[in-house]
Subunit: 350 residues, 2 copies
């Protein structure tokens, strides 16, 4: 019988944050691809685009004019999925037909007035301003009595459903803990109650010793391809210190966080020399006015590309009905990302 | 305060099969779309394609020649994600780094030798043969002592990662219960233990009384847009009789099942007059040699299209980090599907 090898044999791994398993088929990365190819968008955007509803000074679809902003600019989403109004609802309480109204606020955060930038192409100093804006929004949104959770995220690239290339992210703040956050909280809490330490602190310390899944680090944060990563180049930014939310960061940590955001997104762009699409977002403590010692601030990056700028991983039939599946081992992905240059390919001087 | 309305106000619904919530934002369906459009593939395929590795008589990438099959044809996937071999693995049992080897068998099921057909364009009689083939495979694969679950599914359309338009599906059989199946089983079992009835039987009976989410039905099956559907036009085929797996169906039920598969896929094609992409698959009892009175045979359809043949729903940032979200109410979708003609648009005579 052959000896098991991570990078060769099909296996399942356990995700202790979501309490579920994923399937890893490292040998399958070699299969030929005859399926759909994504479009690569030519990148010759102007610094200001007259037709962009996020550019400074332009008028949006609903007639509102953007100010001449110079750093970040935040406004309420013109097509919010959540609404602020309270509605009157009589709960009929049937186990198979459970429903409840949900209140919330959706915002758009422009990262920069420059239409042709993206996070990896911005200065660390300017990314710091984005982080500060997120922190301000976390406080402001969380101060509403009906807001118990603030989801900060970015969809980058049209393949990730992003409809405007202007550098921007979103914030959805709401009354309930969304499904994935609730699962994560349940796991973090169970671990904390059992061990009286943070799951992610223990996890990160083990990873920093092993080294094989670490992509980059500085004094305050590390970027790791999680042991249980599902997307081919999925990563997680984890804070070295145990704190629960973005407003617990001191000035040095804010800067260090901006640095690793720049670091990982530059590596992503360098991987296939393309503006690398992803959905990314922060998981942190709810704003529900309860103490959350179990929470450990972190940021997920879920990028879909698998083999090239045009071939992505499809999470479809088996993955939807069975479980998430990957075709390259997390260790292989981590090594590939780690070995990439830290300088953005567009600024390379030969 | 306004009175709550299903088709107007944001709300969350509970999925009792997966034990998780989803977000419904019915009012958001009106937002303009400036994002990515999918390609529509022109449908002028020949009945036999020399270059197709699934057509009868052709030679596949690995040199094997397909027989001159006339109905269904099943073979082992040339690029299997799971392998049969047992490997030697020493479990180190660390809570944060859990891994176990997984064994399995992957098969491809050609639905017809005709390259230019799809399920909605096949005769019910020929779809019956597909159902029989699935049943045979469930028995054969389940007879291996290391196979405890058999996932039957189809990825249709390039947007669902399908790399060959020849009508075909897949079967992944494996040692473990995949994540989604395990969750479903847990819910079905808890309900069965508490009520001594099948969750899906009770659910379907309630839906048949309410009528508003039923798309079509015959004597043995109904197609419903689940109360907790996440994809815009998601449906579920549920058997009226309570049985656990595909081999429990009698001849009449097999035929009735083929009929509703044809029925719902024809409506799908008619919705945007396009070959409607989806991932679909059967959830049924494991083959683990244990009795499973809690299981109730059903089939899920997860189609991505939202507004037209080219605009799909993106399950991205908020959906990956928070929870699944939909922009049209399940009741609206059910009505749209129900009102569509039962005859395939390509065979319409004016
Ligand atoms: O096996 P195929 O058709 O090449 O591949 C397709 O279906 C598989 C099972 O859902 C997925 O893992 C792949 O990502 C997808 O491209
Ligand atoms: O709000 P946007 O950017 O128009 O929309 C995008 O992000 C949302 C949040 O992840 C998703 O619900 C949409 O499907 C996606 O297209």
């Amino acid at each position: 019988m052959q000896q098991f090898n991570n990078n060769e044999h099909p296996h399942r791994r356990y995700n202790p944050l979501l309490d579920e398993w994923i399937l890893v088929s490292p040998h399958r990365n070699k299969r030929p691809w005859q399926g759909q190819n994504e479009k690569v968008h030519e990148d010759n955007r102007p610094e200001h685009d007259e037709t962009c509803y996020l550019c400074a000074g332009n008028t949006r679809a609903n007639g509102v004019k953007n100010p001449d902003y110079t750093d970040c600019y935040v406004f309420e989403n013109d097509f919010s999925a959540l609404l602020k109004e309270e509605v009157n609802y009589e709960n009929k309480n049937n186990a198979l037909f459970q429903l409840k109204p949900e209140r919330g606020i959706n915002k758009v955060v422009c990262f920069s007035p420059k239409h042709n930038l993206t996070l990896p192409e911005m200065e660390v100093f300017d990314i710091e301003k984005v982080v500060q804006t997120w922190a301000e929004q976390y406080i402001e949104l969380g101060s509403h009595d009906y807001i118990n959770y603030v989801q900060i995220f970015e969809n980058k690239g049209s393949v990730m459903g992003c409809s405007n290339p202007h550098p921007h992210g979103q914030i959805w703040a709401q009354s309930s803990l969304p499904t994935q956050v609730e699962k994560t909280q349940k796991s973090l809490r169970a671990y904390f109650e059992k061990n009286n330490t943070s799951l992610l602190k223990d996890y990160l310390e083990a990873e920093l010793k092993k080294e094989e899944r670490i992509v980059l680090e500085n004094n305050h944060f590390a970027v790791v391809v999680p042991f249980w990563a599902t997307w081919p180049y999925e990563t997680m930014i984890i804070s070295k210190r145990h704190f629960g939310n973005i407003i617990a960061m001191n000035h040095e940590e804010t800067k260090a966080f901006a640095q690793v955001i720049k670091g990982i997104t530059v590596k992503y762009d360098n991987l296939f020399e393309t503006s690398f699409p992803y959905s990314a977002g922060i998981h942190q403590a709810p704003t529900d006015r309860v103490s959350h010692p179990e929470w450990h601030f972190h940021m997920h990056f879920y990028p879909p590309l698998l083999r090239s700028a045009t071939v992505k991983k499809f999470m479809v039939g088996y993955e939807m009905l069975g479980e998430a599946q990957r075709d390259i081992s997390p260790e292989q992905s981590a090594k590939i990302l780690r070995d990439l240059p830290n300088q953005h390919y567009k600024t390379k001087t030969n």
